[in-house]
């Protein structure tokens, strides 16, 4: 009881250390709990939705397969269900919108209760109740303020068509709805999916009685690989464009990547904070126990047993553990809610919500207890084993050996006494100096890493949109068309200044047993509108018959310049063709290969074709261009580069707060480490510092001893922090790069400056508290006491 009072008063006496320590631990635990909880929420919502909507195990895209041919595919061994649908991108006719809007029309078979990738209505009418209209995806529905019964106008096959919206829905293949991989983030204002009964959709397009996409499920006991080759063989006659399993489905793979990254972050990131907090706690307890050696002796002398004393001192860490566990857990619940809301911005599930799985709250508390008690145990065990007589005896532990710097006579001689004291102290308590340094390295490198990550993303975007994509607008077509004819048509438009054809051909690249699906981009030799850059940012000329690979593609196929690569393409007239790798270049978005347009078309066995036209247009002429081509029947989309950049920038703005969160985390952790270390130094040297005051030194002079020691450690930590930052960035570059993005491994100077600034602020903040302590130092009282 009385010991509890002592505990509370001791803690109150050093409350800042305990509070900052608990906050650092709390931050780690809140990230831990919230991320795991969000993961459970996402996985749960995903599994439920996939299950109830019969999400396919595999998917295929073909030029066209007759409706009645699909049933025969169901006989393939291993296939459980296979269904076809017609999928077409159309432009939305919206005179009020300055930007082009697109809808992906997806046919549904509302009579089939076993429909694969079945949409679920979230607003308006139920899916099966009516055939006279469309259900747009719920995000598009909300973003465009659509109400049930509203009419949207689309341009299908060059004809303006009115569609009645029956409601808002979501299907498992468009949980993350983006038009193409290059779009990166969903923009529900400008792109949506519309589910429409097949019989209605058929009437809007020239193709009748065919599907262009297939989804299938695999029987139990079979895998996707068991059915892929035979299905591929059978679909070849229908112009197979691509076949892939669920893990490669765009929406699923992005979602899955997110979950994997979430899990990796949850498993590593919080433990950095928890470890820092445990270190601080360990250091503090070790000092408290050392400082209270006499008190421990007294308690022992009075008959308190080892366990009672041990429990008393463990109480210090227990308080931190319990408080940070509880508050970290509660904060985790709050963050879970916040993260779930954030995910709802990007992903659409009918049932994604915060479920507050309580087990993670308990796990967080358990982790907090284990770490804090371990820190407490390590910090206290040494002194607790002493006999009372040993504990009561004044330990004169003065290390008198010289430090290496003293051998550098010229340097040493030029130091004044205060500097000599600071430097000697630094080296004599190596463990603590090392720990303080580790803490400071952590602060510096975590801020620098995060800052550089954010800057890198900006640089990636900048390079992509300024140095690679040199065009203003891109017009894409439903099918590859004659490049020459397209060019002459477009270049004659009064708004177009410059135009170039581009072909994006789906290919499967092979090297021995390794293979990878990618897009091969055909660009004209000497292209002015699409540049390929090497890793130094210099332009690479594309010429001849060779193929340039992105680094990620080259690495996964283990190919290098000069190697032969085999190519399969649904567009090729021959089964397999091959060419030579003529270069390897970095690529941030997607995984592509590049060839000269003519050479690519030759290789595929066609005359020169283009799937898009890149254009530079006159200023302010986009709307006019849009009007000219909005009803063009071959035009699938017309994109203005600026709108992608604008969307990305607004997204980056919302990410900026994350940077600030890291800065705050960094400052608090840094403060905790430096403050604890300074407090300990101060308490250890209280007599020494008082003596200096007695002999006439000013407060700033006395402060200088502690400050100098800390700044020396800080400077060393910044130097070591540089390679550590490079290491962390490498881990991030490796861990976060996927087929969608490749995070480059580079750090800019500004990020180091940011790390330095945060580290300096945390050191200064901690030292202000120390200076206050020195100002309050009662030299007479301190010197009166027995040492």
């Amino acid at each position: 009881m009385i010991l509890r009072k002592k505990l509370i008063r001791d803690i109150m006496g050093h409350k800042l250390v305990y509070i900052s320590c608990a906050i650092v631990m709390m931050m780690g635990l809140s990230v831990y709990t919230s991320m795991f909880m969000v993961m459970v929420d996402l996985k749960g919502a995903l599994d439920d939705f996939y299950e109830s909507s019969s999400f396919g195990d595999g998917f295929a895209q073909v030029t066209g397969i007759p409706v009645n041919a699909v049933d025969s595919l169901a006989n393939i061994e291993g296939i459980e269900r296979i269904q076809g649908k017609l999928v077409k991108d159309v432009r939305v006719y919206d005179s009020e919108s300055k930007q082009a809007k697109y809808i992906r029309m997806v046919s549904i078979d509302s009579d089939n209760p076993n429909m694969l990738n079945k949409p679920v209505a979230m607003e308006g009418e139920q899916i099966s109740s009516s055939r006279d209209g469309v259900w747009t995806d719920i995000k598009y529905y909300n973003a465009n303020n659509i109400k049930s019964g509203d009419i949207i106008e689309v341009i299908a096959e060059g004809k303006k068509t009115r569609l009645k919206v029956l409601g808002g829905a979501v299907s498992p293949d468009y949980v993350y709805a983006i038009r193409s991989i290059e779009q990166i983030y969903p923009d529900p204002l400008l792109f949506g999916v519309a589910y429409i009964d097949y019989s209605n959709m058929e009437g809007l397009f020239r193709e009748k009685g065919i599907y262009n996409e297939l989804a299938f499920t695999v029987k139990e006991g079979y895998t996707y690989d068991d059915v892929e080759s035979i299905l591929k063989q059978r679909l070849k006659h229908y112009g197979l464009k691509g076949i892939y399993e669920r893990k490669d489905q765009v929406s699923h793979s992005i979602l899955n990547n997110e979950i994997v990254q979430l899990e990796n972050t949850a498993k590593t990131f919080p433990f950095i904070f928890i470890s820092v907090a445990s270190f601080v706690l360990y250091m503090m307890l070790r000092r408290i126990v050392e400082q209270q050696k006499g008190q421990i002796g007294i308690l022992k002398a009075f008959g308190y047993n080892q366990k009672e004393i041990f429990m008393h001192y463990m109480g210090y860490s227990l308080v931190v553990g319990v408080l940070s566990g509880i508050f970290g857990g509660i904060l985790g619940f709050w963050l879970e809610n916040y993260f779930v809301e954030m995910y709802r911005e990007f992903f659409t599930f009918p049932n994604l919500r915060a479920t507050y799985p309580i087990e993670y709250f308990f796990q967080a508390n358990l982790i907090a207890l284990i770490f804090s008690l371990f820190a407490g145990y390590s910090g206290t065990k040494r002194i607790l084993v002493l006999t009372p007589a040993q504990a009561l005896r004044t330990e004169v532990e003065i290390k008198t050996h010289t430090i290496f710097l003293e051998r550098l006579k010229i340097v040493w001689r030029n130091l004044n006494s205060l500097s000599k004291m600071a430097v000697r102290n630094l080296f004599r308590n190596r463990a603590r100096s090392l720990f303080t340094m580790l803490g400071m390295i952590f602060v510096f490198s975590i801020v620098a890493t995060m800052s550089s990550f954010m800057t890198t993303v900006e640089i990636m975007m900048d390079e992509q949109f300024t140095d690679i994509q040199k065009y203003d607008a891109k017009m894409s077509f439903y099918y590859p068309l004659d490049a020459g004819k397209l060019y002459s048509e477009i270049i004659n438009n009064e708004n177009v200044v410059e135009a170039e054809p581009l072909l994006e051909a789906p290919v499967r690249l092979k090297n021995a047993w390794l293979e990878k699906d990618a897009l091969c981009i055909g660009i004209k030799e000497g292209s002015r509108l699409y540049h390929i850059l090497d890793n130094k940012g210099s332009r690479v000329d594309i010429k001849g018959n060779g193929m340039i690979l992105s680094e990620r593609l080259a690495n996964s196929l283990r190919l290098k310049e000069g190697d032969k690569v085999e190519i399969e393409s649904p567009w090729a007239t021959r089964d397999t063709v091959s060419t030579t790798v003529s270069g390897v270049v970095p690529q941030y978005f997607g995984v592509s290969a590049y060839m000269e347009l003519g050479a690519l078309c030759d290789m595929l066995g066609h005359k020169t074709m283009a799937s898009s036209i890149l254009m530079n247009i006159k200023d302010g002429s986009f709307d006019s261009l849009n009007n000219d081509y909005i009803e063009g029947k071959n035009v699938s989309s017309l994109d203005r580069k600026e709108s992608v950049i604008e969307m990305f920038n607004s997204l980056m703005e919302s990410y900026k707060y994350m940077q600030w969160v890291f800065v705050v985390f960094g400052v608090i952790s840094g403060f905790a480490v430096v403050y604890t270390s300074s407090t300990i130094i101060f308490s250890e040297r209280e007599r020494e510092l008082s003596s200096l005051r007695v002999i006439g030194m000013t407060r700033p002079e006395v402060f200088k001893i502690i400050a100098l020691e800390q700044w020396l450690i800080a400077m060393a930590s910044w130097i070591i922090g540089i390679p550590v930052t490079f290491g962390l960035r490498w881990v991030i570059a490796q861990g976060m790069s996927t087929d969608l993005f490749t995070i480059p491994y580079s750090i800019d100077l500004r990020s180091f400056e940011a790390g330095l600034a945060v580290a300096i602020v945390s050191v200064i903040a901690a030292q202000i508290s120390v200076y206050r302590k020195i100002s309050r130092l009662d030299m007479v009282e301190v010197l009166k006491e027995r040492e």
Binding site: A301, P388, A389
Partner: protein, 234 residues
């Protein structure tokens, strides 16, 4: 008189790096129940070591130590803790109070673990600090702090009170006050008190005085007529 503590050939060696320092060279002694004993000797003579061993705060390197008929020199850590908890009270030269506990709470600290403790208020009354109960050590004078330390030691109601230079940090009049309390404890409650000091004047109020030098008991003197504490001066 019954023997409370008996030491046979008590020896204590300390390993100081590569050097072995002998603090006690095989001392023999007996302390009786209800006795007031003063152990006199210069600094470094081994008197604090002797006190630590008698109090179970340290273990002898050789010899046997009995409390009543129990061989406490063979006790393990747990048994020694129980011995200190139930039978011994300590008073130190520098008070060693818990700085962040009040006078009353410092006394409670030993009351909470004792088998048959005295009332806290009774103890505060006896040491004359009832009105200082809620003061922290830093708010008390040296003499008052030492009285709290004595209060804390006697509150457990131990058989044996061991005092290491209890007046060492005090002026004469405050020191005499402290001695009065020790004598009070000895006479009123019939408890054994052992004081170690290098102040020979304090020896005048003892029933017996152990003279210790170089780790050996030189002689033991018996005071036929011990002085009253208020008659002692130095």
């Amino acid at each position: 008189m019954n023997t409370l503590i008996k030491g046979n050939g008590i020896r204590k060696d300390y390993q100081m790096g590569e050097v072995v320092v002998t603090a006690l060279r095989g001392v023999d002694f007996e302390i009786y129940e209800g006795e007031f004993v003063v152990v006199l000797g210069p600094s470094g003579s081994g008197k604090s070591t002797l006190l630590n061993i008698i109090g179970g705060m340290d273990t002898p390197t050789g010899g046997e130590l009995y409390y009543k008929d129990e061989l406490i020199s063979e006790y393990d850590e747990g048994a020694l803790t129980r011995y200190r908890r139930n039978s011994v009270g300590f008073v130190f030269q520098f008070y060693n109070l818990m700085p962040n506990l009040t006078a009353g709470e410092n006394i409670s600290l030993s009351v909470e673990i004792a088998k048959d403790p005295l009332e806290i208020d009774y103890v505060l009354e006896k040491i004359g600090l009832r009105d200082r109960k809620n003061h922290f050590p830093a708010q008390l004078s040296g003499g008052e702090q030492q009285r709290v330390a004595i209060g804390r030691a006697i509150a457990k109601n131990p058989e044996l009170l061991l005092c290491d230079e209890p007046t060492g940090a005090l002026d004469v009049s405050t020191g005499v006050e402290v001695l009065k309390f020790l004598k009070l404890f000895n006479e009123e409650l019939g408890k054994t008190v052992v004081i170690i000091t290098h102040n020979s004047d304090i020896g005048k109020m003892a029933d017996r005085v152990f003279y210790i030098r170089d780790g050996s008991i030189e002689r033991i003197a018996v005071n036929e007529k011990p002085m009253k504490p208020e008659e002692v001066s130095w």
